[in-house]
Symmetry: D2
Subunit: 370 residues, 4 copies
């Protein structure tokens, strides 16, 4: 347990470095019988692929996933699913000059402290390429969730100072711009903000929002394994994320009880439903059948072309310029990573929720007493 | 694993309901040889005790902790430490009228959905009293951390619209007001805001900030078990928390790379240190030797005396008024809970960090090659 | 995680020392709705109680269990169940003279090595009293299993050189002798063997057999979490156990493939069944619907009244005599411990097996496609 | 968590089927700085390779391991180590006729029950080829243990009725016969016994013994995670193992306390040592600094060429003959698997033992109080 394993029942174990032989993941606990092929996963990977717009790195990585185990005749077998993406571009020339230096905002210093040395090529394990494994696993979790009526969708909520306008928001629009913003006007404004960033050799951050719909009530465990807690961990495990909100988030801290409480009503089917969703779809750490709504705040890309003052591992102060092309913003490529992490968390807790009630377990095993 | 277990190496397992026989925790994994007595723990519990100010419930709970195992002749033995607080007030009269109703903002509905029924007395397991077990365990973690040079301190950052002024902030002042605000002017302002809330039969939220100092660099695991992720999960596992920030948090999403990056310098001891701390003390998910700074946003107390529209478990719409005395704000009593959860997380990851480097392990076992 | 936690879904966390304030366990993950009261658990505890025959210690411990949480109006709530047995006899006078000495066959030496010191009163955490917590938790697991049609039964198979005769074996007879042997003739022979042991101030070992009936096929996970592996760990986690067999066990190593393979046939209900059960109820680590049959070998009680040569923690050689009354055999009191550990393991893996097939999960969530 | 993950701190996650694209393992938690190359691992894999003698399958599998991550410039980096062996022979022709049939002694039936269908090619996940991943990971664990002064060695103890003679035993001899028996006379006798088995189209079982030397005292956790329990689980997780013994094992159940207790003495260095080792190197579940000695009983190879009566998944009774060449004995190829599982278990518990004592932890972090 050195931190590359995630989940209890739907459990993933990831591996790989930026400039090593590849990136991969083993999924242990995916139920048997789920139709799955490489294309199902590739679609998700393509969403995080660089080179899709003028704001993402020009490297043509062409990440192709291969399913190595756990799928037989088009369906999962219940045994571990190994997914692998071989690195096609393993050149290290762009990074060699940084091998001894601690880049500000990067993990170079902490890796050296923790491990005594590090794979300095392109960030090694701390590279954004690590998220390929998360997205591949998340694609499988999403397929499973779909079968159980659950849909997970993330999109860009803001880029630097530019936020989507809730009145204008149209989720279908997110596919029409490379920033995955569900508001075309905001997307255009954000694009020109990003152009400005690039011109100034600077970078910016943003916020990704993610919604889980269709989760039955009661998913998530009281106390430590609240759905809220699982999602927060999931989001903060993504490299550049510095903040997390569920429902009204920090705004709730400035609200009133009379306003923040979501009253219940009885809907046409006789089911208890909430009139509002300030809570973001959970109560007491368990899903309450309203959409689960969360946000993750991303810091600006730390690699910028401006000169920066820092030090090297020999205790010398240095001025560095990070060469090579770097995205001025992480957010657009991170949208699918957020979605993947939310899907992995939801799938795990959904499976876990099967064991909470004896009456349902008895029914499952055909032992229900009359 | 139904969610009441926390931690891998410093592992706690909590139990207990609001109006059951008591609340408790078993700590498995506390190293042997730590001096510990009941008073060490009681001090922490007293900080979450109600009845300390006019803003907290008048019930005199008199929660007294008892150490049942794992301590011998004043020191921990390395075996499980069982801590228990017996409930002295188990009367349910204030709650009986709510046994079938789903209180807005509470977990009544989701408990019924997940388990088929619930212990309706005072919220049962979802009561704030559950945090007694966290605080008791956190007190032990804090004692352990102290011995290893690590200090965890939480305080109130804002209450409703009233925030502390960073220029005025003096940590020692937090002990001089019952809101645990390290700014006397803000504390006074907050107190009058709370008086207003009570008069209006309403409630409000707030923000707690927590700082971990003295953590060596390299604590936290890359990828899923980042220190950031552990702390986020820890905070969002607290009942009323809806948001989490590390370092600049959501502000980082509106910042620039050139401003958000923390440059390094070499200090007088020849060590690499960061000039600023926008990152909040972590890089790549590992502590970077700067203070770890986090914030948790608390929603307003859901129990308010105003009439609220809701439903009961028989599918009937209802109007309810929650009687009995309830705090207009959760935050002051939650400060020590935040501190406890941060301490539990830090202790666990600090112990885990011992196994990251072969050279240090060889030295530990006396096998270091010359 | 210092070893006092067991199970993933049905997870127990135990605590307590021989001469501390008590012994207890927290069960996290017992499904909601299981009828449970203290008497259900007490019945199991009484089976391991000393003072039941002339071969068990005369101390009247009167262990009474108390349910502290997780049960409301006679049914489990799905939240942690805390069970506690307070020690009534905490006198240490019998043990004081052994506080610095390493008793042969006991854990005194290894506790000192691992932790630097130890609670020397009556073995502290390594005392057989630790199993009270296992039995209490096992009682709850057994109740759950019963509801799902699964029965776990252990009995004494041999004591020293005296084994039960399979031809004579009658399970109902086990309740008619204090050795829990399902063969009266063997029981009588064993009793006189034990009388001889006591006269010689010596002790002996024995074998406990345990059968799990009614487990559906497919419980247990391929590879590391085989049902076989879980049961082996369960048994070897009991203090005095030195060997484990499933089905034919070591005899299988001397058998032939043609004899050891269990052929299948189709029974009257059209189900595939095995003609024989050399495998002991598992194939490939999963239950095969035949009874699961296992055996655990117990070493002789290490506390004997004969003089023994040993050393103390100051590096001095010593001759000791262990005073006080000690059982000449552990086995009879361990029968219910074996049963408890088997029940805990079976309950955990049975719950886990619910998540193996998508078609059944879809049905569970009402999403089965036609 | 569907059973293909093993270990807490030194954690491995395996994948792969007999006739899929390959077999592999991800190791999460190997400390940084361990020299490692593919040859270190290949040496272990070659020991389980078929085609080494006339008693092992003639297929030339030529399993070559590739390190895909976690090693940089010849040393482990502390991040996940992915190891992969591509299957070169993926033909399924030998197995097609068995796709619907439940082979006696195999996992065909239970896989179908658990998952609804199965990868029938060569046993799929239940194939002995699954152990390739264990051996690869075990090789890394063994390298780590070596650096910490710990040596793990397994060898064949008996084949069918032929056992090694302890008086004649010479560990160096095990490398001189293909059965890995440390007794040449017994090896010759066993070979002729195996010839006889092959002639009779039958198979036989055997026992593997394994010794761990150099483990410091105190490794293993009291109660559930005893070293004994970890090793028992490890051994019973190997497909064909039906029994486990530590030290005297089942013989201890027939021994006397006076004979079975290992008395202590003070050796020339002033250390407490045991005069005998009936316990097999543990006391109270923790290593006692004597060699840890265990045995695993293997059932006969279930694939035999004789006709066998069984059923298919359509509920029809059948007579089958398993064609293709199969080893008449599993044991020789399993020796290195036993060693690997013992090494994985020892490495995990050895790392875990670092956190048991505050004084040593303080020293580790440079906080030791004078």
């Amino acid at each position: 347990m050195a931190g590359s394993i995630y989940g209890t029942l739907f459990c993933v174990s990831t591996w790989g470095e930026s400039h090593g032989k590849g990136i991969g993941v083993v999924i242990d606990g995916c139920p048997a019988g789920l139709p799955l092929d490489e294309e199902d996963i590739q679609k998700y990977l393509d969403r995080r692929k660089p080179g899709q717009s003028r704001f993402t790195t020009a490297r043509q990585e062409g990440d192709r996933v291969e399913i190595l185990s756990g799928v037989f005749e088009g369906r999962t077998t219940g045994t571990p699913i190994a997914l692998e993406v071989r690195n096609t571009d393993q050149r290290s020339r762009d990074y060699g000059n940084l091998m001894d230096v601690y880049r500000p905002g990067h993990a170079d210093f902490t890796f050296d402290e923790k491990y005594g040395f590090r794979d300095y090529r392109g960030g090694g394990r701390s590279s954004g390429r690590e998220t390929i494994a998360r997205v591949a696993a998340g694609a499988v979790a999403s397929r499973l969730l779909e079968r159980l009526g659950v849909k997970v969708q993330a999109y860009t909520c803001s880029i630097g100072p530019v936020s989507i306008d809730r009145a204008r928001m149209d989720i279908s629009k997110m596919w029409q711009n490379r920033l995955y913003m569900p508001d075309e006007t905001a997307a255009k404004e954000a694009e020109s903000y990003l152009d400005d960033m690039m011109a100034r050799k600077d970078s910016c951050g943003g916020v990704v929002e993610c919604v889980i719909e269709g989760l039955p009530a009661g998913v998530g465990e009281p106390v430590f394994d609240k759905l809220d807690a699982g999602l927060a961990r999931a989001m903060l495990s993504i490299g550049a994320v510095k903040g997390f909100e569920l429902g009204d988030g920090f705004e709730a801290a400035r609200s009133l009880g009379s306003r923040n409480n979501d009253g219940f009503y009885i809907n046409e089917d006789g089911a208890a439903k909430k009139r509002t969703n300030h809570s973001g779809g959970t109560l007491g750490g368990m899903s309450d059948s309203a959409p689960v709504v969360m946000r993750a705040a991303f810091k600006p890309t730390p690699s910028i072309a401006q000169p920066q003052r820092t030090v090297d591992r020999f205790g010398r102060e240095k001025e560095i310029e990070i060469r090579g092309r770097h995205d001025p913003i992480i957010v657009p490529r991170a949208v699918v990573v957020v979605e993947a992490m939310a899907a992995l968390t939801a799938a795990d807790l959904l499976l876990l929720s099967m064991t909470s009630r004896l009456d349902r377990i008895e029914e499952f095993f055909g032992k229900k007493e009359k």
